[in-house]
Symmetry: C2
Subunit: 474 residues, 2 copies
């Protein structure tokens, strides 16, 4: 029996794909990671995943787990390798509206969880652009972030329980619905964000939250980025921590938006150096129920707060959305980042995180340092400012891989000097393996290797990613 026959004996022949049938899995969303896998195997349930991994372990076959293929760092790249697709594990097993949990399988698309929760007036507060194709297994494996981390945390903060198939096919049952569970090592948080290095996530228990009944959304212009943190802190206090998003767009971002996006209009009469999108979510009827004159209390509250801030000179200008249409326009500007820099080639893209009070330092330091050796370099910045998370793209002055590498190292230098991380929410995958080696605490790397070796002694799970090898071979 060939290896493919053995796969087919587990999943059925229809679910072992090769050749042109694997087209869908042969390039990812970024287009940067392409190549035909040896085969794609599509198990139907946890038992089949376990049988497949047991076979892979026995035969020493590398396995690349994959769900929605929307990762940004090549974590599911598998040219010539066996891909284990979780897309058929796609059941929402249960929604418990009173306990506010959803029990889902790894292959459920995130937007489906949103829809299922909405039927009960609840949200699953994980929102990012790819939510219509990204699956929860991948979001958990990469600890995905998005626009609502400020209020609700990353994916790891939204997960109560997990089912994991280990490298050798053993099934680890951590499917807890509990908000407290101090029973030994926290293996759930170890597997979340491990990008498939320690096991394959097959199911999860997720937290749901009340759906905001109204939003107050505004664009603000501020005199200096350095003052923005005080504004955020003040808005958090004013709203009891209901700030859902606090997003930063500098002048060149707004300019890029106006140039690149058809129909885009300037948000303010004057051009401003620093624009912030802020959104408050109101779950309380007293904040969300329109008054007799049509005013929505949470919107009025934000207007008053901003008026006071303008009075004090902390805000130069402000525009509060008066309708859902206006709110969507504001978000469209924020979400246009990929459109703005899509023509930038080559580009050096970074997803970095800084201490909240060092974001302005990062922006002040980085481009001048690059321009010292590449005077024509251009920069685009947009940030989840409330999290200290900057998406940063540099277009070098010329197409030269060595120059791009140098720029990448400069960005990493500044991040390291300021106590930041070279990966905020996109993960490591293949793309940042060299950076991990250069920048991560060496003892932490040793510990990661020791844990990897303990749980996947043959190194079959998603090899060549995330954890750089000790010998420098990567």
């Amino acid at each position: 029996m060939t290896f493919l026959d053995r796969l087919a004996a587990i999943c059925g022949p229809d679910h072992v794909l090769t050749g042109a049938d694997t087209d869908r899995w042969s390039r990812d969303w970024t287009g940067m990671y392409s190549g035909r896998p040896l085969a794609v195997v599509r198990p139907a349930d946890t038992a089949q995943v376990a049988a497949l991994l047991s076979l892979a372990h026995d035969t020493g076959t590398p396995v690349v787990p994959v769900s929605g293929l929307t990762g940004l760092t090549g974590g599911a790249h598998a040219p010539g390798q066996l891909m284990l697709s979780l897309d058929r594990l796609n059941r929402i097993r249960r929604i418990d509206p009173a306990g506010r949990i959803a029990v889902v399988e790894a292959g459920v698309v995130i937007a489906r969880i949103h829809e299922a929760a909405a039927e009960h007036g609840l949200i699953f507060p994980l929102f990012f652009g790819a939510r219509g194709s990204a699956m929860i297994g991948g979001a958990l494996s990469t600890n995905a972030g998005g626009s609502n981390v400020l209020r609700h945390g990353n994916t790891r903060d939204l997960c109560l329980g997990l089912e994991v198939v280990l490298a050798d096919g053993r099934v680890m049952d951590l499917m807890s619905e509990l908000h407290k569970d101090n029973s030994g090592l926290n293996l759930r948080q170890l597997v979340i964000g491990a990008e498939g290095q320690l096991g394959v996530i097959t199911a999860a228990v997720l937290k749901l939250k009340p759906m905001p009944r109204a939003y107050a959304t505004a664009l603000l212009a501020v005199p200096a980025l350095r003052d923005a943190l005080a504004l955020l802190n003040r808005l958090q206090e004013e709203t009891g921590g209901a700030v859902e998003a606090f997003e930063y767009m500098p002048r060149n971002y707004v300019d890029g938006y106006l140039q690149e996006v058809p129909g885009a209009r300037p948000p303010f009469a004057d051009a401003h150096d620093h624009v912030i999108l802020v959104e408050i979510g109101a779950t309380a009827p007293r904040d969300a129920t329109p008054l007799p004159d049509g005013t929505i209390p949470v919107v009025a509250q934000l207007e008053q707060a901003l008026a006071a801030m303008m009075e004090a000179g902390a805000v130069l200008d402000a525009l509060v959305a008066q309708s859902e249409t206006q709110r969507r326009q504001m978000w469209a500007m924020r979400e246009a980042a990929a459109d703005i820099h899509r023509h930038w080639l080559p580009q050096v893209e970074s997803d970095v995180c800084l201490p909240l009070d060092r974001v302005a330092d990062f922006i002040d330091l980085t481009l001048p340092r690059i321009r010292a050796y590449d005077p024509d370099a251009t920069e685009l910045t947009v940030a989840h400012l409330g999290d200290g998370n900057i998406h940063h793209v540099v277009m070098p002055g010329r197409d030269d891989p060595a120059l791009s590498d140098r720029i990448r190292e400069t960005v990493e230098d500044v991040v390291q000097e300021l106590g930041g991380s070279f990966s905020a929410e996109h993960g490591i995958g293949k793309e940042k393996l060299a950076t991990m080696r250069r920048r991560k605490d060496p003892v932490a790397l040793e510990v990661m290797r020791a844990i990897k070796a303990a749980l996947d002694p043959k190194g079959i799970l998603n090899p060549g990613k995330v954890i750089p090898a000790a010998d420098g071979q990567g």
Copy 2:
């Protein structure tokens, strides 16, 4: 040079204690775990901790890390062993009010962090009875809970960064201030709650939060515990998630309080079966600033919500604190648990967690099942209901260790049937090692053992606790 001389060469002779000088470390808060350690060594800084562990590793000497000795499961019990006390690592290195973080060493007493944060109008939202002597290192090692987990999470949710000395003395630097950091395995969350099995925490970066400007606190009587979850969900929506505590006291708890605590007075004119203490924290001036008539808006808001619930029959009676004195009286009733059952001997104490909607099932099932074989058994229950966390004490009908063991197993059976955990917030330590073996997913135990062996191959860190040995001897 003797082993003690070598310890003294690292820390100075004044900081290696033996004999009567170790009295303070020879019994813990519970009084259940006593016995003189071989020696207590009190390093001054991380470098000394590293040198001590390096020595212990080279010589194969077991080491028991200890900070405030306020654990409830014997996690720091070290008769005849070497205790490594973190109490001299007691510096608050930095408070950053804008970034809302505190950088502290492991031996800082939690109440000192509260005081330091309060100077900036901030809180470190970890509150439990022992906060005046418990140290942050121990709280992190045990992932301590307390009264505000509902709003702010457990200790692990309040920690951004960690410094850890590994079993062989290597120092792992995870001292991040970042709110997002997806750079490989999450080693911080692995070490938090590991009860000293994987390394010794020497420093941490903690999150601070805005200090509530006012509280609204009330006692409610509800017709059925089963309905309480709907009340909590409604109060969360009404307040935008500002419920800080939702604590349950059944009738026998209130009766015990009235009998055992001098000066205690009945909260309501009528006796009720189910009493809940609820507290809302208001950070917004609009909620906290007294109106011209002296009314505090958040208090009025809670009164209105409760009035509506009484109208609907969901609440039978309610008492809203009108002063800080009244608020403290309400909390005093909740915090009297230890006083109420202090004379119960023997007692079988459990700290269990249930899915939020199964708490009532646990209470309905447990005592009847025990009384089937021990008709005189008595029960005391008090719960962090918003977290599904029940502190449960049974006084058996007679003093018979076999009967106590049977009761413990019955409680565990019910917890397991309902999808709960046998340890919510107190951890495993020595006390629950046998329970871990019986009840924890066996694959999860295998994974814990593999990680322990990978990071502490000689098994010198806090041996004989938390992770039961594979051979049944542990």
